[in-house]
Structures are given as C-alpha cells and as structure tokens.
Amino acid sequence: MNFRRLWLTLLALFASCLKPAYADNADWLDRVQLHGFLTQGYINTNHNNWFGNSEDGSFDFTELGLNAWLQLTPKVSLAAQGISRRAGKMDDGSPDLDYGMISYQALNSTDTELGFRLGRIKSKIGLYNDTRDVAATRPGVFMPQSIYFDRIRNLILSVDGVSTFGALHSDIGSFYLNINVGKFRTDKNVKATFLGPLPTGSLNSDNTNIITNLLYEYDAGRIRIALSNVDYTLDFNARPDPVFSDGTIDGDYRILSGEYNTELWSFTAEYSRQPIVYRGISTVFDTLDGEAEAYYFQIARRLPNNWSSWLRYEASFRDKDDKDGSVRGPASGLEPHETFTKSWGLGARWDVTNDWMVSAEYQRNNGTFILSRIDNPGQIPTDQKWDVFSLLVSYRF
C-alpha cells in the first residue's frame, strides 16, 4: 500500500468524521491528549560496537517520541506518534511516523470487544514489541535481543495496512486476539541482516504479511501468556547486479511468551522459532535455509524506594540444528560465533519520580549473532566474547 495515499485517506476520513460529530463544538482541540518520551543512553563495550562506537564509550543512542490521541466519537479514535531515534549507524535520528491510525470499535459490551484499525499500526509481537522504543516499558535497558532483534527492528515495528482486534472477558480470564495485515517496512539494517553487505539490489516486503497475536490474561495481568506469529515475505529485486538475481525470502516467526507477576517478583520467559527460506537470490543463499531458535528468561524483583533489579539469560541461534555455527558459519562467509549469541545480564532501575527513570545493565556475551553488520563494518570478524555496560536516563509524560 502506498503510504502517502493511505495517509491522505486517513486525513480525509478524519475530516469527514470530525464534521458531523463536532460541527457545533469548536473545542475538540482541547480534547487531544498528548504524551511523549525522551531517552538518552551511554554504552561502553570492551569489544565490538553496540549502538555506535561503544569501545570508546558512546552516547549515540537517543529516543524521542511525541504522540497525540483523540476520541472523535465513542466508537472512533485517531492516534499518531512521531519518533526520532539515533542508534549508532543503524538509525540517524530522522523523524519518522511511528504509528498513525484510525480505530473503530464495532462492538463493545461487558464481555466482548471487536474493532478495526486502518493506517500504520504497531506490531503486537510477544509481550513488549508494541512499545519497544519507550524505555520505561522495556523489561531491561534494551529489549531482549534474542526475541526483539534491533537488527531487524523496522521489519517487526509496524504494519502499513489494516488490523482487527477482539477481546473476550470471562471468569477464567481475558482473551485478546489481534491480527494485522499489510506491508512491513524494510531498511538497510533489514537488508544487511538477511543478505549481508554484497547485494546492491533492493529488498521490500510484499503487501500481505500477517501478524497474529493471541494473549491470555488472568487476574488483571498476574499471569500473561501470548502466542505470536509473524508470516512475512520479502521480495529482492537484484536489478543492476550481475551476481544476484530476483528472489524472495519467506519467514515465519513464532513466539510463545509467558509472564507471572507477584507484588515483588516478575518472572518472564519467551521462546521463538523462525524458519527462513531463501528462493532464487543466489545459489549460496539457497543453501542457507534453516530454522532460527531463540529464548530468554528473566527474574525481576521490585525493591524499596522505587528500585528494581533483574537477572536475565538469553540465547539466539541462526540455526537450531547447528548451534555452534560450525557448518553455517563457513558456508555463509562468517565466523562460527557470528551465528549465535548467549548472554547473561544483570541490571537495576530506579524510578526517580513517576516521570523520570534511570536504568543500567551489565551484560556478558558469547557470540555476535545479535550484532549489527552496519555498526561493525570494519570489525568483521567480530570478537566472540564481549561485555556491554549500558546506562539510560529517560523521561516520559
């Protein structure tokens, strides 16, 4: 779907909804609700680059967002968020539309809800993806990379298309279903992750990718269990390249997520499998099919005076049948350790006020599968063992 056309359609819808509903009421601007966030990070690694030139200490991580929300009628709402994100060489801070959509609540009773959305819609994947750029909502300093790879952030960030959402509330808990269909967004990071640095052609998502998310909540979120599926196809157009030809990449990203919350403790685990199939791009890529596997588990503890702390283990493997990368590494021109990452992380957070927070984490990594090729161009092969210290200061309203 052409996004400019979509946006104009949204504006037209906005205008048409607005007029009959509030024609005799000029104060609708007063009813717009505004929220936002600003986060600055400091990152220091002993080897490799994590969001910028972090071996020397990097401040190249900034997140800035501002959103507006308007309830047009009891059934119709409009929402949009602009974002600027600096993340080393992966993201340069150019302003971007994070989401912009019109929502229609068709059915709304005590037990059931059903609605539809149109526009740029955040992708509900796992437990945390739809607010992944808001530091206060993340389970650590950064998203757990095993499940929420920043290397392919744009691909799993949002959908330009349509969505349907439903809820069923019962005595045994609430069930939420969310299905998004549309075009995913690709960028240089997605291309570098799937195709490496060589191909000069373009990689774009087709228009019928589907994200399905089924969430079960018990006791207002004491227990949360989610099943997510991301079914995507990327089209590669090789045009000027003599070595590569047109082809496709098909992926199917499946995640099982669980969270258990008590007053003082939170236990979280997410597990994923992702078969990836290359077709026609080159004979080398055609041999690179395989199923990726990743997971993490985390224990978090709320402490007195608005402190909290967490311990996390995570692992990700490009090929679940070749976890040490001894086959896939050489076959794809990489070191074996560039096909997996295993990490321990220990972190703490202090919510200074309701609006301000500071968080810090120390992480020991074995393997560099999660590292960006764009942030580490001169460092291939990357160093297998690397540690990260990260610190964030964040404000939200």
Binding site: Q33, H35, F37, G65, N67, W69, Q71, P74, A79, A80, Q81, Y99, M101, S103, N108, T110, E113, K122, D130, T131, V134, A136, T137, F165, A167, H169, D219, A220, G221, R222, N261, E263, R302, N306, N354
Partner: protein, 124 residues
C-alpha cells in the same frame, strides 16, 4: 471520622448505581472507558505513589499499582488507548468528578461529598 476504606464515586448524572470488581478493574485499567449506555467515561486516579491510590488498587481492585501503570503505558504509547487523568488530592477529585460528565474516581470513606454519587461495589 475518616476511614481507611475507599469508596468509588461517580458524577451524579451517571446512570449506574453499582459495579462489580471485574468491571472496576476493567474501568481503572482503561480497557473499556465507556458506560453501558455507550456514553463516554472519564477516569480519575491519584499519583502512583499516593498511599490512597495504593490501598485502592490492592484492597478494592486487588491489583498491584505497577500492573495498572504497565497497562496504561501500553495503551498510551501504542496508540490503542489512554491513561486516566491524574489528580492531586481528594478535594480536586470530588470537584472533577462532580463537574465532569461521565466521571469516575475514588475517595476515602467518610470524606464530605456533595454532587457526586457513591457506587456500591458488588462482590463477585
């Protein structure tokens, strides 16, 4: 004599006299902020760290305050909903609830009230 128990209050025009716990949870989680007749609802709460808010969450709603905050953040920053309006003290709470159509909030039992309706909480 002020009690440490909390009561739910609504604007006097609201055509509801009782709510059960799961309905209150849904309301204060901002999952479905409208009344049964479809009219818009405005939800007022105190600051997350206000002891009155913390007692209300734990004793009446039986959720932890951080669970509500997580829900609101998810709604606000994904464009799928809104957070409640934050109020400084009970005096402001009563004033806002009495003057805002469709408003709901909570105060300590025994606080003087005019122009707002106390809602019965059904056990379920």
């Amino acid at each position: 004599m002020l009690s440490t128990a909390e009561v739910v209050i609504v604007n006097s025009q609201v055509p509801t006299s009782s709510l059960d716990r799961s309905e209150l949870r849904a309301i204060f989680s901002m999952k479905n902020p409208q009344w049964k007749d479809g009219s818009p609802m405005t939800v007022f709460v105190y600051d997350d760290r206000n002891p009155l808010h913390q007692r209300f969450c734990k004793k009446i709603l039986k959720v932890f305050p951080y669970q509500l905050r997580k829900n609101w953040d998810r709604l606000v920053y994904s464009g799928t909903g809104q957070a409640p309006q934050s109020i400084k003290n009970e005096e402001d709470m009563i004033r806002q609830v009495s003057t805002t159509p469709g408003a709901i909030g909570y105060i300590r039992q025994g606080v003087d009230i005019n122009d707002v309706t106390v809602i019965a909480i059904e056990s379920n």
